[in-house]
Amino acid sequence: MIEAVDLGRKFGELTAVENLNLSIDKGEVLGFLGPNGAGKTTTIRMLSCLIRPTWGQASINGYDIRKDGHEIRKMVGIQTESPGFYERLSVKRNLEFFSQLYTASNLSKKIDTYLGLFDLKDRINSPVKDLSKGMKQKLALTRALLHDPEVLFLDEPTSALDPQAAKKVREFIKEMSISGRTIFLSTHNLAEAELLSDRIAVFNQRVIAIDTPKNLRSQLFIHKTCIRLQYLDDSYRRSLEILDFVHNIEVIDNGYIIEIERPEKHVPAVIDNLVNLGARIQHVSDVEHSLEEVYTTLINEEKEMAS
């Protein structure tokens, strides 16, 4: 659906995006994570044909971003960084205006549906200048959806929203992806990215890593398992230390956190070992590294390499 090959953009001497390579399937949600100034907005602008790349190629649904801007803009919905409305016009008039540029059909029904969904129905005749920042953001999402785009570019879609509204928007994004829309989600909210994204791209001028959240964790960190026992004994720890697939043992209140290679194979062996020594196991669980740890590790490694 979205393909980018060595896509890059320079502003004068500054390279904002350097050789972006990615492929996003139809119906996939790609979480696009990166620090401020990483080039996320520039990437979205290039892919949605707002600005031209300095080098490289990209296509959306087979349309070339260099040649087929008009076709791409028809099939793409974009929620820009700043909402950008005609402040003195009403909510309804703004939506009607932009929809007419997309020649959207069933307009009034869609406006009603989306404004109802985002709790903006009672503000339909209010001038946009009277809306809060969060309301404008929801309105910008509504605007991006009115022409039923196949691809959605969302730039920080929940950044100004209260928790309840943000939850609603996330649920809605999930529904959109289930209905087959391809979503490019740029966000700083790591929990949101993990919740919504099929894959995550960590980006800082170039893609540092791209994979499912689970695979990113396993690539970066050795698996950890938490084993809670009724009581601890030194012999238990010693028996674990001699196992060659156990890398590290951290003693906690009533158990151990153990770093294990290939957990699906070796966790049962660890448990057998403990049971044979008479240990009374209460609970075994995986210890997951947060996406924040994944992100921070990747960005720090990138910085170290660069320096």
Partner: protein, 246 residues
């Protein structure tokens, strides 16, 4: 806003003011000599049927007819104040990026911007024209049919829209190339100076005020409008507008 209200009042009132000043200050023999006589001679040669009128009457007819060109100033100035703000204003309001993200083509955007400036400017001009015609009728019902004739209709219905489209096309292009509204408006005023040539042309005797010259002038403006739009579309750089402006 000042431009939208003050300019029409000045332009409608100016010919009446000039005539009353000249008739009260300048003596009739002065009108029949020098600059004034050249304007009268040029007018009579373009309109031979007017030769029977007295110089003072001819002078009034010329000045009142000139009112049509003063009204063109309303079209230009009111339209320019909207047009020069059209693209840079969207950038400032941050509505330009969502607008450029739509499938709207560059020529559609430019035509839309020009029409959005031209329609209010032309409506304002035509309303002022009605007001002016009322004033002329009240001043002299005898001279009214000589002043509001076919040339008046051509100026209002052909030259005025042609001038509006040309100058506002320039205004929108300037707006799309400027970094702030103030410089856009300064450039706008500078670039419409050639357009003002037609306002003073008949007075200076540069060209006669008759149907042929008016149709030629209108056609030149219409042709220039097409050329301006063509280049406007070519030089409209979405990328630069979104990335270079702050």
């Amino acid at each position: 806003m000042l431009m939208m209200t003050l300019m029409p009042i000045i332009m409608v009132g100016a010919p009446f003011l000039y005539i009353s000043i000249i008739l009260n200050v300048v003596e009739v023999p002065t009108i029949s000599s020098g600059f004034f006589q050249r304007a009268i001679d040029s007018f009579v040669s373009a309109n031979p049927g007017m030769s029977e009128f007295q110089p003072i009457q001819l002078f009034q007819i010329i000045l009142f007819k000139q009112g049509a060109f003063f009204l063109l100033m309303i079209t230009i100035m009111v339209g320019m104040s909207i047009a020069t703000f059209s693209v840079i204003g969207e950038k400032q309001n941050r509505s330009l990026e969502p607008l450029l993200a739509t499938p709207v083509r560059t020529w559609e955007l430019l035509v839309g911007k020009v029409l959005a400036a031209a329609v209010p400017a032309l409506v304002m001009t035509w309303l002022c024209s009605l007001l002016y015609m009322g004033g002329v009728y009240a001043y002299s019902a005898d001279l009214f049919p000589l002043i509001v004739d076919y040339t008046w209709i051509i100026i209002m219905l052909f030259i005025s829209p042609a001038v509006a489209l040309l100058s506002l096309g320039l205004g929108v292009i300037i707006s799309s190339r400027s970094n702030d509204p103030r410089s856009a408006q300064n450039w706008g005023v500078f670039l419409i100076l050639p357009v003002l040539f037609i306002i003073v042309g008949p007075i200076l005797g540069t060209f006669p005020l008759n149907i042929t010259s008016l149709l030629v002038i209108g056609s030149v403006f219409a042709t220039l409008t097409i050329v301006v739009f063509y280049f406007g579309v070519k030089i409209f750089n979405r990328d630069a507008i979104l990335t270079k402006w702050r």
